[in-house]
């Protein structure tokens, strides 16, 4: 009797399940570049493809590293890591996952022509110990291997061989890859169909190795680049979820009874960086660079009324910061988060002390299409600096025009944002931005703001395998940068998602990556 009841219940459940497949319609702000995660080093493309492909390790909803396709790992020596792979995992085409797949994938992503090579900078070689064990050798002691591996997705070797895709796609030689339009991963969702710029459909992978926390059967991914159209689609119920809800429309979205808004702050910290080279490029001070004087830098800092910026330019949604990295990033130190207070008279006095009682002119290079409300906050700060007696000139243009000037150091002040992604560690900011230019370091040190003490700490942290020690070194480097006021911090920029009431819950982490395998629908 009891059994019969249970059977009926199961049948009924199966029926209702079949009757209404749970479909999540996702309206994104832009299209992904390709179905090949190695073709383009872009955080958003990787985040979407993470639903299809998986790495050896992954981030949890609160940005901690946990096992994924690898079950455990150990360091055999400072340069050799051994990974035990998960058994019983199958690719979407039914092929079993083994050590060969990992080795072929690592070879592909680190190939000379791979655009994603930079995401695994320390890789030297890998070898198979047995079907479920590999050893990965790095160039030297490298503490951030696991962080990097969260974004290195594993392909099926047989599938790559069968489709001539063992090598990455190569634009120079005109090699178009099979993997650009087709996918075969191990992740929670499979690609069912794709029509670029229109709709990509993902269906649930019933054979996923992990226990699903989601209950979604189908994801329909559509890019809607115009933000007003995206908001309209959300209000009219054509989409269930968007990972970019425009800030100016948040009140309108929240006012709708069927829509809820999830708002938080991103990992990306925004600050102003100064040209600390010998001369400014557009200034009435010709013979020297006033920014080299710490009093001038402090004056710029103190002249910013951050609360006004937050309230007006950022619509009350940003998080004011004194630190260069966000709280979720290892290397963050609460005591560094305190800002110098806003003090207009103090700023004027500092300028006078430094020998510029009447101020001086300089150019601020901002971008119209990069950071959140960049135009607004740049204008606000420029006005504040004018009030302190300076003569800033705001140059506002699209990213494609400003970037070449910034890279060449042809600027006096730039707005700058750094998210420390995909590594999620302060080392990213330190080695790429703060480090003096040399070899692989300081690629973004556009304004010549290096400091030998900071460089030494970065170099030491780069090979320190003891995590607490390493983090102390990074904190120390950031402390020097703060004391020298190398940069003028502003805020962590806001981010917002919107979803209809059909979505019960999801996980919104400050890396702004949708994780729909953690999303539950009604």
């Amino acid at each position: 009797m009891k059994k019969a009841w249970l059977l009926a219940a199961v049948a009924a459940f199966a029926l209702t399940g079949a009757a209404e497949a749970k479909t999540l319609k996702w309206g994104a702000s832009r299209e992904i570049a390709s179905l090949d995660p190695y073709s383009y080093g872009e955080t958003f493309t990787l985040a979407v493809l993470n639903h299809v492909y998986e790495g050896l390790v992954r981030y949890t909803g609160d940005l901690k590293i946990e096992p994924a396709l690898a079950e455990s790992w150990e360091t055999v020596s400072p340069t050799v890591w051994r990974f035990k792979l998960r058994q019983g995992v199958k690719f979407h085409n039914g092929n079993p996952f083994t050590a060969d797949d990992v080795i072929a994938s690592l070879a592909r992503v680190t190939h000379d022509t791979s655009p994603l090579k930079g995401n695994l900078p320390a890789y030297k070689s890998s070898k198979k110990i047995d079907d479920y064990t590999i050893e990965l050798e790095v160039n030297g002691p490298y503490p951030l291997l696991l962080n990097d591996l969260t974004n290195i997705f594993i392909f099926d070797k047989e599938w790559m061989e069968a489709n001539n895709s063992l090598l990455p796609t190569d634009s120079g030689k005109g090699v178009k890859g099979y993997a650009t339009d087709n996918a075969n991963g191990t992740g929670p969702f499979k690609v069912e169909s794709r029509r670029a710029d229109s709709k990509t459909v993902f269906v649930k992978n019933a054979g996923w190795w992990d226990k699903p926390k989601h209950n979604i059967d189908v994801i329909e991914f559509s890019p809607i680049t115009s933000s007003s159209t995206r908001v309209a689609a959300m209000l009219s119920g054509e989409i269930d979820y968007t990972n970019v809800a425009p800030l100016q429309d948040l009140p309108r979205l929240s006012a709708s009874p069927d829509v809820k808004v999830l708002q938080t702050n991103e990992l990306r910290s925004v600050f102003f960086a100064l040209n600390l080279g010998d001369k400014l490029i557009e200034s009435d001070v010709k013979d020297k660079n006033p920014f080299k004087d710490i009093r001038v830098r402090e004056a710029l800092y103190r002249a910013i009324d951050i609360d006004a910026v937050q309230k007006r330019a950022m619509r009350g949604l940003s998080r004011n910061t004194g630190a260069l990295v966000a709280p979720a990033i290892p290397g963050y130190e609460p005591s560094q988060d305190e800002r110098l207070p806003f003090d207009l008279n103090g700023a004027k006095k500092l300028l006078a002390d430094a020998g510029y009682p009447n101020g001086f002119s300089f150019q601020i290079n901002c971008q119209s299409d990069s950071l959140v409300n960049e135009e607004e906050f740049c204008q606000a700060v420029a006005a504040m600096w004018s009030r302190a007696g300076l003569k800033p000139n705001l140059s506002m243009a699209p990213r494609s025009q400003q970037t070449p000037k910034r890279v060449k150091g042809e600027f006096d002040v730039i707005s700058f944002g750094w998210a420390n992604e995909p590594m999620i560690d302060a080392y990213s900011l330190l080695v790429q931005v703060l480090r003096s230019k040399s070899g692989t370091g300081g690629v973004f040190n556009w304004g010549n703001w290096g400091d030998p003490r900071i460089d030494a700490l970065i170099d030491k942290a780069g090979v320190e395998l003891d995590t607490p020690k390493r983090i102390e070194m990074m904190k120390e480097a950031l402390k020097i940068a703060k004391k020298e006021q190398l940069f003028i911090p502003l805020h962590q920029q806001p981010m917002a998602w919107a979803m209809r009431s059909t979505v019960v819950s999801t996980v919104q982490a400050s890396d702004n990556k949708p994780r729909l395998w953690l999303t539950v629908m009604k």
Binding site: Y40, P121, S222, A233, S236, R399, S400, P404
Partner: protein, 330 residues
């Protein structure tokens, strides 16, 4: 005639070369794709390698020569962004734009011609004056504002029509069409009206002006004198005489519609060529931008050349004019 044909074709080729040069020149200075293609983590060495791989380290003239010789063969290179063949990318998007333009053209004729006739023969009625006034608005209202207004009314408030996308499409060979599915036809309504509104007013005003002109001519008076019914006079005689310029303008405007579809496509997330171009601009995807400009100019130039040739075929005087000064060997 062959000499005239040759001259027209050489003209067209010259225009295309100039466009290719402009396309190349503008985009050569638009920005550095390398910074946008690599992420925060990439090192200087990788940046340099990518620059070499994309051929950006070569000289200006060499880059242009390669560009033109490839473009002639229909090879616009590989998209910087998603590493796909640019020509394939554009031809995949062409059907969406073409259908949108086709429906918009049809709408502009189906609505514009009757309105034009009406405002011409009832020129003093209240309705005709209202239509004249509204048509000024139609010409001056930017299409993105109109599109957003439509979305607000028909998608958000009334929820009758979709705010974005193309609906379900059917694939016939390499051609994809939304005309065969209900959701595809529904998705076409708002964008095609948005795109055609300017066109409707243009056709209407053109038909009205031509009709007024024709109505004054003698043969209309004779037709009336013969006691023909107004309907036959208006549609059989007058309108028929107006259609030639209307068809010419409509033909020439197709090029314009294709080019201006990009605003409508952006508002409605219509997956056509315009959308592709806008995305390419965001990512400084130079091959796609250059190829789009060249393809659209090619359509323009082809339409213009065809119209010229048709005229010359219809009206021999134009041919003679074109050849003045040249020896006529025949």
């Amino acid at each position: 005639m062959p000499a005239f044909l040759l001259k027209r074709l050489l003209n067209a080729a010259g225009v295309m070369l100039a466009v290719a040069f402009l396309a190349f020149l503008i985009f050569r200075f638009v920005g550095d794709p390398v910074e946008l293609m690599l992420n925060e983590q990439a090192s200087q060495q990788q940046r340099d390698e990518l620059r070499v791989r994309l051929g950006l380290d070569k000289g200006f003239v060499l880059q242009y020569a390669t560009f033109v010789s490839n473009a002639v063969r229909g090879d616009f290179g590989i998209s910087y962004r998603n590493q796909q063949d640019v020509f394939t990318l554009i031809s995949e998007r062409f059907p969406a734009t073409f259908e949108l333009v086709l429906v918009a053209t049809f709408l502009s004729l189906a609505v514009g011609v009757p309105l034009g006739v009406y405002t011409a023969i009832r020129r003093d009625s209240f309705l005709a004056k209202t239509l004249q006034f509204v048509s000024v608005l139609g010409v001056s209202l930017p299409s993105f504002a109109l599109g957003i207004l439509f979305i607000l009314i028909f998608s958000v408030t009334l929820q009758w029509l979709p705010a974005f996308g193309r609906g379900e499409v059917v694939q016939i060979g390499w051609w994809s069409t939304g005309l065969l599915t209900a959701s595809g036809r529904k998705a076409l309504i708002l964008p095609s009206i948005t795109l055609s509104l300017f066109q409707i007013t243009l056709v209407m005003r053109l038909v009205r002006a031509e009709m007024l002109e024709t109505m004054r001519t003698d043969f209309i008076r004779f037709a009336r004198a013969r006691g023909l019914p107004s309907r036959a006079v208006h549609f059989g005689h007058a309108l028929r005489n107006c259609l030639m310029p209307v068809i010419t303008v409509t033909g020439l405007q197709i090029g314009n519609l294709i080019a201006f579809a990009l605003v409508t496509e952006t508002v409605f997330q219509w997956p056509g060529m315009g959308m592709l171009f806008v995305q390419a601009v965001t990512f400084v995807d130079i091959p796609v931008m250059a190829a789009y400009l060249i393809v659209v100019s090619f359509i323009f130039v082809t339409l213009n050349t065809l119209v010229d040739l048709t005229y010359a075929w219809v009206d021999p005087r134009l041919r003679e004019d074109a050849l003045t000064g040249g020896a006529n060997a025949r």
